[in-house]
Structure formats: structure tokens, C-alpha cells
């Protein structure tokens, strides 16, 4: 049960996950990997919400997490569809090579 873990530890893990996600999103060139990193950040946020919810003894944190999961699913399908369309067009998903929309 998450309630038995101290809030500080939960936030520590959440922060670590978020940092890993940011590093991945900024440093990776593969669009899928960037995408996965963003998912990681989102889940770090979920973890923090759960931790706070447990610490405060309410259900609101968990409710928001459900919303986030649902929206993340929708976002994942849209994002993946964009990548498929992108790949059909350019035959690459290296974001460094996709920079048409500039000055």
C-alpha cells in the first residue's frame, strides 16, 4: 500500500522518473523514444499525485490519475498515427531530419 511509504520517498522516485523522462525527450532523436520519454514524465506526475493523495487521505489524487491515464491513451493513439503518417512521407522518424517548418 502506497500509504505505508513515506511521501518523501514517493516524490523522490517521481522526481527521478520525471528527470529521466526530460533527459530522454531532449536527448533522443528517435520520435518513438521521445514519445516514450514523455509517457514516462506523465507517469512520474501520476505517481506524485497518488503520493499526495495518500498523504492527504483523500481520493482526489487517484481520480485525477484515472483521467490522466485515459487522456494519455488517446494522446498515444494520435501521436502514433502522426508518426505513421510522418514515416510514410519522409521515410524517417529522426526528428533532427524533420525541420521543414522553419523561418
Amino acid at each position: 500500500m502506497i500509504g505505508s511509504i513515506p511521501l518523501f520517498d514517493v516524490l523522490l522516485v517521481s522526481g527521478a522518473l520525471f528527470s529521466i523522462g526530460i533527459a530522454g525527450a531532449l536527448l533522443r532523436r528517435n520520435a518513438i523514444q521521445i514519445f516514450l520519454s514523455i509517457e514516462l514524465m506523465m507517469n512520474a506526475a501520476n505517481l506524485a499525485l497518488l503520493g499526495y493523495g495518500a498523504a492527504l487521505g483523500t481520493h482526489q489524487g487517484q481520480v485525477i490519475v484515472f483521467f490522466v491515464i485515459a487522456i494519455a491513451a488517446a494522446e498515444a493513439s494520435v501521436g502514433l498515427a502522426i508518426f505513421v503518417a510522418l514515416f510514410r512521407h519522409t521515410e524517417t522518424i529522426d526528428v533532427n531530419k524533420i525541420n521543414l517548418l522553419k523561418w
Binding site: 526530460i22 531532449l26 521521445i34 526528428v95 524533420i98 525541420n99 521543414l100 517548418l101 522553419k102 523561418w103
Partner: protein, 647 residues
């Protein structure tokens, strides 16, 4: 009184005629336009006389009729109200009547001149003019008079430029408008002054206050009267603002007769006579008025001698006669000035219509050098023109004699410079007789000097044109008989006592002269008749009998002087150098420097700055998603530092 027409109907009738002709005239053709245009003028005349007859027969008491309140701003309250008093009655009597005659004349004159649309436009403008003129004459406040004042100016502009496809006519219209604006500005300033000094713009109130406390308004009145007179100078074509009137002859001849001879140009004299209470409290302005009038009379008279265009001679003669009227006002004889306005309207309208009749016969040619011997072919035009010429020359018993003689004797008895003004006036009377009989001789006597086609074409004008000529010719003979000089008996002068209530002397400001002895008056009359007759005889001898050899020799022996006079003293050229070109230069400079360089330059600089900024900032848009993400991240950190730091 209850059964009589309200005064507002008088201007409303021609206004309705204008509206109908302007909106529907082109659709229904010439006979419809004629019926509406001339009908409106005729109805207005009838309506005017339906008020005038009881007024003249009755007590001559001033009637003020208020239609409605026009505006109320602070302490300024203006009513739309009309006033019938002896002065406006006199104007009303001849303005409506002459206007009606000229409308009739225009039927014949404009018949060949215009398309259906042009014909409708002409009569619409003519009606609009009549509306504005009646408003001017009947107004009870300075502001309503100004409405009419500007209205007649507008119609003058529109009708001078009637042949707007001719460069000259369009330019003449513009010139008239611009020169008149200068005068109007003076009138406006005068009005502001009146409101500042009296707190009202209604005649009744202003004149009452001025008459009650003359000393209180003295100094301010000089400025006010000077401004008002500048307005009159513009409208009534006095030196130095006279230059528009000769050019205005580019308009159709009925217009020259109605607007630029008989009615509109006398509005300035009317205004000065209307404000006689104010002017009499400003003696130095009166002297200025007399001086300008006298100088204008002489100046325009000398120009008229050397002109060969029939209408131009008449135009300069009009300016000269207007000068006489101001001379009369300036020496304090306002009633005499108005008397001359009235007689002048009759004989000058007759002269212009006669000139139009000649022009009609000569297929539009107005050069007197091409005419001659028209007496036999155009008898009605000849006899009426002759009557009007004798009237303007001042031969008794024609109309002009009495009014001009009254002006001369008033200036003779005026204190100060009176004798000098009288002498110049007398000399100008001789000039007038000379140049008028010169054109009569050249036009109607001797051999025909035009082309064969013209000789073949010459004919008397249709009856719609000769009828007004005959009426005005008769008036040129008899109109002066209402103002016989005192030597003919105590009650011979009708017009003076009629106007007296309006031109009542102010307490403590009575004219300081006693009536001239009868012997002096007879002598003055004899002198002026002799001068006029010698002018006539000289012109007849030189131009009709001798065929112009002596004047030609004179012109040849003084070529410089002759060229200067024939070129109208080159005043137009002088104004061109002094005013027109500097203004054009200023306008061009403002355009090229202020507008193009400074204003447009500032705008272009602002646009350039935006473009330049954009040129640098757009390199931030790399198109690379990772750069954007990094920016997000850095922004997030900055935000965090900010929030945490604030805690």
C-alpha cells in the same frame, strides 16, 4: 394680417422648384422644367407682392415671424425667423420681380444652349439661387443671413461653371468661390465679434443695444464693421477683391444679369445698409467704405473703357456702380445707396439681357469689334439697351440719373473728404457715360463688321427674351421717379422717408449737415448732367461718326498706357505673383516635404523597423522540435526558480 402668407413660404417656393427640377427635371423634358422653374419664380413673385402691397400701403411696421428655434447653445439661441421691414421690402420687390423676368428670358436664351439635362440643371440652380437670395434678404439674424449669403455664393459658383467642360468657365467658378471665401471669412469674424459684444445675433436685439448704449460698444464696433465690410467687399466685388466678377461672365448671360449684376452682388450693399446702426458708430470705417467705393468706381470705370468684350464692359461697369453704392453708404446716405441698388438692378439687368440678345444673334460672339449696325436688325434690343444706357449714364429723366445724382450730392455735402469723393464720383460718371455709349455706338451704329454668316444670321430674339427687355427698359426709365431730389418738392422723394425707420439716426450721432440750398442742388445736377452728356457725345462722335480713328490714334501714341488699361492694370497677374504662386509653392512644398518626406517617411520607417526585427527574430524558428522542447524546459526551470525564489 391673419390671412396673409407667412414669410417662410417665399423662400420655400423656389426651394421646392429646385428640388423638383433637380430630382425629376431630366426625366420629363424641357417643357416640364420650364413650367416648374419659371412657375416657381412667378409664384414666389406673386407671394412676395401679396405681402408687399399691404405692407407698403399699411404702416410700414417691421414684422418678425419666427418659424422655429434652430439651435440653442449656451447663451446663443438662434431662431429661424424672417423679417419684413422697409429695407427687406425694397430688396424683395426688385429681387423677385427681376428674377422672374430673367427666368422668362432664360426660356428663350437657354433653348438652344443646352441639352435636356443641362436645361434642368440650369433652372434648378436658378431656383436655388432665388431661395438663397430670399433667405438672405428676409433673414432676421446674422446667422440666417449668412446661410443665404453662402447659398448665393454656391449658386454663383455653380452657374459660373455651368459650362463646366470649358476650362475657362470652370476656372472662373473656382476663382469666384475662393475670392468670395476671403470675404466670407471677414463676415464670419464680424459675426463672432457681434456675438462677443452683444451676446446675440438677432438684428432687433443687436441694433437696439447698439443704439441705446453707443459709447459702450464704440471701439469693438470698428473691428466688427471692418470685418463685415470685408465680407461685403468680397460679395460686392470691391477693390481688392473684385477680380472674380469679370471672370464670372463665363456663365450664361441670364446668370450674369441676375446674379452678377442685379441681385447677388448687391448683397454686400444690403448688408452694410442693414447694419447702418453699427457702421454709423464707427466713423473711421465709414470713411474707409467711402474711400474703397469711390476708388473702385473710378478704377473699374477706367478699365471698362478699353475692353472689347461686351459682357466684360458691363462687368466692370457693375463693379464701378457697386463702388458708387458703397460711396453712398460711406458718406452716411444708406437710403441713397439702396436707391441706387434698386435702379441699378433694373437698368443693369436690362443691359445684360440686351447683351445676351446680341450674343444670341451673333452666334455667341461678344466682341464689339465684330458688331455694328445692329440697330436696324434688332430694334427692340436696341431701344431697350439705349434706354438702359441713358439710365446708367445719368441722363434725366432716366432712373440712374436720380440715384446717381443723389449719391453725388450726398458726397458733396459730406464733411471732410466729401468734395474729393464728389469730384472723383463726377469724373467716373463721365467715364461711365463714355464707355457705355462707346459700346452702344460700336454695337448698334455704323456698318456691320462681322463675317458674312453672322450678318446673315443676325435676327431679333424671340418674344420670351424681348418681353423682359421691354419691361426692364421701361423700368430703366421710370424706376428713379420714386426718389426725386428735394428741389422737386417736399414730398417728391418717396424712398427716403420709406427707408427712414430702418436708417434712423442714433441719438447724438445725427449727420452734422443741413440740407443744401436749392440753388446749389440745381447747380450740382446741371454739372453732372453736363458731364454725362459730354461723355455721351464724345463716345458718339469718336465711335459712331468717326469710326474710332481718334481713339485708335490715342492708343497708338501711348501704347504703354493703353496696353496697361486694356490688360486691366495686370492686377490678375499681380495677384498671381503675390498670392497664387506663393500659395501653390507652399502647397507643393507641404506635399513634397511634409507629406511625402516626413509623414510618409515616419510610417515607412516604422514598417521598416518591424521588418528588421522580424528578420532577426525569425531565426529562432528552426523547425527542429528538440530545440523547442529545450526552450520549454529552460522556461520551466526559469519559472520554477521564480516561484520558489518568491516563496
Amino acid at each position: 394680417m391673419t390671412s396673409s402668407l407667412p414669410l417662410w413660404v417665399l423662400p420655400a417656393i423656389p426651394l421646392a422648384g429646385f428640388a423638383i427640377n433637380a430630382l425629376l427635371g431630366t426625366r420629363f423634358g424641357k417643357s416640364f422644367v420650364t413650367a416648374v422653374g419659371v412657375g416657381a419664380a412667378g409664384l414666389a413673385t406673386l407671394a412676395a407682392y401679396s405681402r408687399l402691397v399691404p405692407f407698403v400701403a399699411g404702416s410700414h411696421a417691421t414684422v418678425v415671424e419666427t418659424v422655429t428655434n434652430w439651435m440653442t447653445v449656451g447663451t446663443l439661441s438662434i431662431d429661424i425667423s424672417f423679417r419684413l421691414d422697409p429695407l427687406s421690402a425694397l430688396m424683395l420687390a426688385f429681387v423677385t420681380f427681376v428674377a422672374f423676368l430673367i427666368h422668362v428670358y432664360a426660356i428663350g436664351y437657354m433653348h438652344h444652349e443646352a441639352t435636356d439635362a443641362g436645361y434642368a440643371r440650369f433652372f434648378a440652380y436658378l431656383n436655388l439661387f432665388l431661395f438663397a437670395m430670399l433667405t438672405l434678404v428676409l433673414a432676421e439674424s446674422f446667422l440666417l443671413m449668412f446661410v443665404g449669403w453662402e447659398g448665393v455664393g454656391l449658386c454663383s459658383y455653380l452657374l459660373i461653371g455651368y459650362y463646366f467642360d470649358l476650362e475657362d468657365a470652370a476656372a472662373a467658378g473656382r476663382k469666384a468661390f475662393v475670392v468670395n471665401r476671403i470675404g466670407d471669412y471677414g463676415f464670419l469674424l464680424g459675426m463672432f465679434g457681434i456675438f462677443a459684444a452683444f451676446g446675440s445675433l438677432n438684428y432687433t436685439e443687436v441694433f437696439r443695444k447698439a443704439a441705446e448704449q453707443p459709447a459702450q460698444f464704440g471701439p469693438a464696433l470698428s473691428v466688427i464693421c471692418l470685418c463685415l465690410f470685408i465680407g461685403a467687399m468680397g460679395k460686392s466685388a470691391q477693390v481688392p477683391l473684385y477680380v472674380w466678377l469679370p471672370d464670372a461672365m463665363a456663365g450664361p448671360t441670364p446668370v450674369s444679369a441676375l446674379i452678377h449684376a442685379a441681385t447677388m452682388v448687391t448683397a454686400g450693399v444690403y448688408m452694410v445698409a442693414r447694419c447702418n446702426v453699427l457702421f454709423r458708430l464707427a466713423p473711421e470705417v465709414m470713411l474707409f467704405v467711402a474711400g474703397i467705393g469711390c476708388f473702385t468706381a473710378l478704377f473699374a470705370g477706367t478699365i471698362a473703357i478699353a475692353q472689347n468684350d461686351l459682357k466684360k464692359v458691363l462687368a466692370y461697369s457693375t463693379i464701378s456702380q457697386l463702388g458708387y453704392m458703397f460711396l453712398a453708404c460711406g458718406v452716411g446716405a444708406f437710403a441713397v445707396g439702396m436707391f441706387h441698388v434698386m435702379t441699378h438692378a433694373c437698368f443693369k439687368a436690362c443691359l445684360f439681357l440686351g447683351a445676351g440678345s446680341v450674343m444670341h444673334a451673333m452666334s455667341g460672339d461678344l466682341d464689339v469689334r465684330h458688331m455694328g449696325g445692329l440697330k436696324a436688325k434688332m430694334p427692340i434690343t436696341y431701344w431697350t439697351f439705349l434706354a438702359a444706357t441713358l439710365a446708367i449714364a445719368g441722363i434725366p429723366p432716366f432712373a440712374g440719373f436720380f440715384s446717381k445724382d443723389a449719391i453725388l450730392s450726398s458726397s458733396f455735402e459730406a464733411p471732410g473728404l466729401g468734395r474729393l469723393l464728389w469730384f472723383v464720383g463726377l469724373f467716373t460718371a463721365g467715364l461711365t457715360a463714355f464707355y457705355m455709349f462707346r459700346i452702344v455706338s460700336l454695337t448698334f451704329f455704323g456698318e456691320f463688321r462681322g463675317t458674312k454668316e453672322q450678318a446673315h444670321h443676325v435676327h431679333e430674339s424671340p418674344s420670351s427674351m424681348t418681353f423682359p427687355l421691354v419691361v426692364l427698359g421701361l423700368l430703366s426709365v421710370v424706376a428713379g421717379w420714386i426718389g426725386l431730389p428735394a428741389v422737386f418738392g417736399e414730398h417728391a422723394n418717396v424712398i427716403g422717408p420709406f427707408l427712414a425707420p430702418i436708417i434712423a439716426p442714433i441719438a447724438g450721432h445725427e449727420a452734422a449737415h443741413e440740407a443744401l440750398p436749392h440753388a446749389t442742388e440745381w447747380l450740382l445736377m446741371a454739372v453732372s448732367v453736363a458731364v454725362a452728356a459730354s461723355g455721351l457725345y464724345l463716345a458718339y462722335a469718336w465711335y459712331a461718326k468717326q469710326g474710332g480713328r481718334t481713339p485708335a490714334r490715342l492708343a497708338a501714341s501711348y501704347p504703354g498706357v493703353y496696353a496697361l488699361v486694356a490688360d486691366k492694370y495686370r492686377i490678375d497677374e499681380l495677384y498671381d505673383v503675390l498670392f497664387v504662386r506663393p500659395l501653390a509653392w507652399l502647397a507643393r512644398t507641404l506635399w513634397k516635404v511634409v507629406d511625402v518626406l516626413i509623414i510618409d517617411g515616419l510610417l515607412n520607417a516604422a514598417a521598416f523597423l518591424v521588418e528588421l526585427t522580424g528578420d532577426f527574430l525569425r531565426f529562432l524558428q528552426t523547425g527542429n522540435v528538440r530545440n523547442y522542447a529545450l526552450t520549454f524546459f529552460l522556461g520551466l526551470i526559469a519559472l520554477l526558480i521564480f516561484v520558489v525564489g518568491a516563496m
